[in-house]
């Protein structure tokens, strides 16, 4: 498999009032393969959002290179193609919906790409079906629930047929039900359509579904591995401002009480099966 995203020694400085620079990312190198599902975690201010914005040329690195599917983000002429290939979903669903009806919001990105109208309608229908919002086609966005709004945002992105989906805390403002809806949609896109996913989150439970977890701290990548490697207890996640998922904490307690169960169970059903 080839790499879809490649960061080579990337650093990024925010310039506050022109002078003082704040180093948000410090010499980061990371490669992500086509079709992978990456969870990106880290405490507040560790640079996750900054990293996300570098992936579709909203920001360009102060030094180093970001390659997307063989295109370089710092090249002006590659910018729009990169943005088409890497779709972004943000935390607040309200602030990324542009139009006054659901269908028109999904169409927004396609209109920007200059696709002709008959094809736009077709793709809108298809995208709404995939996120399960077909029956809301003519609704006003503000009447949708949080989870539905976020799925609408995802529909607007997948209608553009991106190869990679970058989601910056897409579930942070949702209730458990809305979170589940959104997570299922993301997973489906990844498993069935082979879309590469970079999922930034503060919810440790959500990371268990990823192929790989990348943890960041103060602008650096500190861990990069499979969920069972990250949570095996060798590095102190608390020190990075992170928690261990409830399931794994339970597992550890049970093991320390002398129960004989494998350490790397990441699924509630598996645990139930072993225990009962």
């Amino acid at each position: 498999m080839s790499n879809i995203l490649e960061l080579k020694n990337v650093s990024f400085d925010y310039f506050l009032n022109g002078e003082t620079a704040l180093r948000a990312l410090d010499d980061i190198s990371l490669t992500i393969k086509k079709g992978e599902y990456i969870a990106l975690i880290g405490s507040n201010g560790s640079g996750k959002s900054t990293l996300a914005r570098l992936l579709n040329a909203i920001l360009v690195p102060t030094s180093g290179e970001v390659w997307v599917d063989g295109l370089l983000t710092s090249r002006e002429e590659h910018r729009w193609e990169i943005r088409r290939r890497v779709g972004m979903v943000f935390q607040n669903p309200d602030n990324q919906i542009v139009a006054t009806t659901v269908e028109e919001d999904v169409a927004f990105g396609l209109e920007n790409l200059g696709i002709d109208s008959s094809q736009i309608s077709r793709r809108v229908t298809e995208a709404l079906e995939r996120v399960g919002l077909s029956s809301f086609r003519h609704h006003a966005p503000h009447l949708l629930s949080g989870g539905q709004k976020q799925r609408l945002a995802i529909a607007g992105i997948i209608a553009m047929r991106p190869r990679c989906l970058v989601l910056d805390e897409p579930t942070a403002m949702l209730d458990p039900r809305g979170r589940r809806e959104v997570l299922d949609t993301i997973q489906r896109m990844n498993r069935q359509e082979g879309v590469t996913v970079v999922h930034i989150t503060h919810f440790m439970e959500e990371t268990l579904e990823a192929d790989r977890i990348v943890t960041m701290d103060r602008g650096k990548i500190v861990q990069n591995g499979k969920p069972e490697e990250i949570f095996n207890g060798e590095t102190d996640l608390y020190q990075l401002g992170l928690e261990i998922p409830v399931l794994l904490r339970l597992n550890r307690i049970l093991r320390s009480e002398g129960l004989d169960i494998p350490a790397n169970i990441l699924n509630l059903n598996d645990l139930v099966n072993i225990l009962c």
Partner: protein, 264 residues
């Protein structure tokens, strides 16, 4: 609170509702010009009957007729009073100290009032039957030829769309902030007008701060979805003129020519 929209659109299914928004805007322009060509009361009567016929054919409730006039009531009232008192000429009807109401004043006052009323009602007819979104579409198309003169048609339409999109969101938010501030003892309901205006500050400041943050995030989200202005942009709903649109335009033009050549 939640249902306020721009221009008070009343959804429906009439001839006027289904006209292409570009054509409707053109018709409005033609009819406004026509109103300024009218020279006699007969002309206004003719025009008025025409508008009333269309109004009832569009199945609009009559109370909107009067409700639409309410915001401009004072302008109309002052036009009338100023003409009555200060336009001189002809017979004197009434003396009020140094002021007189004279024939020419009564004529001009009534004439101008009728023109204003008809102007408002004609515009109302269009705004009541056009959804704000197709209005924005229409404006974008109509202004397209003036792009070279620096008139940003696409941007105006995009601003209208975004405003429409965010009005309910911001209303909801202002409601929330209002309740939060009331819970802390803020008072929005008592006191004279200045006091009340000052009491709005704790409502408006957070609302503005949040609106700016939203604008910031929205701009980034739009760019991330490849938005780069109106150039090379297509539309999902393209506008198409149909025979009925030409009929509508012909009727308006006919109205203008009739008034122009009959001299009423």
């Amino acid at each position: 609170m939640q249902s306020i929209t721009l221009g008070h659109y009343l959804p429906g299914d009439s001839f006027l509702h289904n006209l292409d928004p570009r054509i409707k805007l053109l018709c409005l322009l033609v009819l406004i010009v026509t109103l300024f060509l009218v020279r006699t009361f007969w002309g206004f009567m003719f025009f008025g009957v025409f508008i009333i016929l269309i109004f009832s054919a569009s199945k609009l409730p009559w109370r909107y007729f009067l409700r639409g006039l309410r915001p401009v009531f004072f302008i109309i009232f002052f036009t009338l009073i100023l003409h009555f008192l200060f336009t001189d000429g002809g017979r004197v009807y009434l003396r009020l100290g140094p002021l007189t109401v004279e024939e020419a004043g009564v004529f001009m006052g009534t004439f101008m009032t009728l023109r204003l009323v008809l102007l408002v009602i004609t515009t109302l007819l269009i705004t009541l039957t056009t959804s704000p979104i197709s209005f924005a579409d229409g404006i974008e198309y109509i202004l397209r030829p003036f792009r070279r003169l620096g008139i940003p048609g696409h941007e105006i339409a995009m601003m209208m769309t975004i405003a429409l999109r965010f009005i309910p969101t911001l209303m909801e938010e202002s409601d929330k902030i209002r309740k939060a501030q009331m819970a802390r003892g803020a008072d929005f309901e008592t006191g004279n007008i200045f006091r009340r205006a000052r009491n709005l500050v704790p409502l408006l400041v957070p609302l503005f701060v949040s609106a700016f943050r939203r604008a910031d995030e929205l701009a980034i989200a739009m760019e991330a979805r490849c938005y780069r202005g109106g150039e090379n942009r297509t539309k999902m709903r393209e506008l198409h003129t149909r025979p009925r649109d030409y009929l509508g335009l012909s009727v308006s033009l006919g109205m203008m020519l009739a008034i122009l050549f009959s001299g009423v």
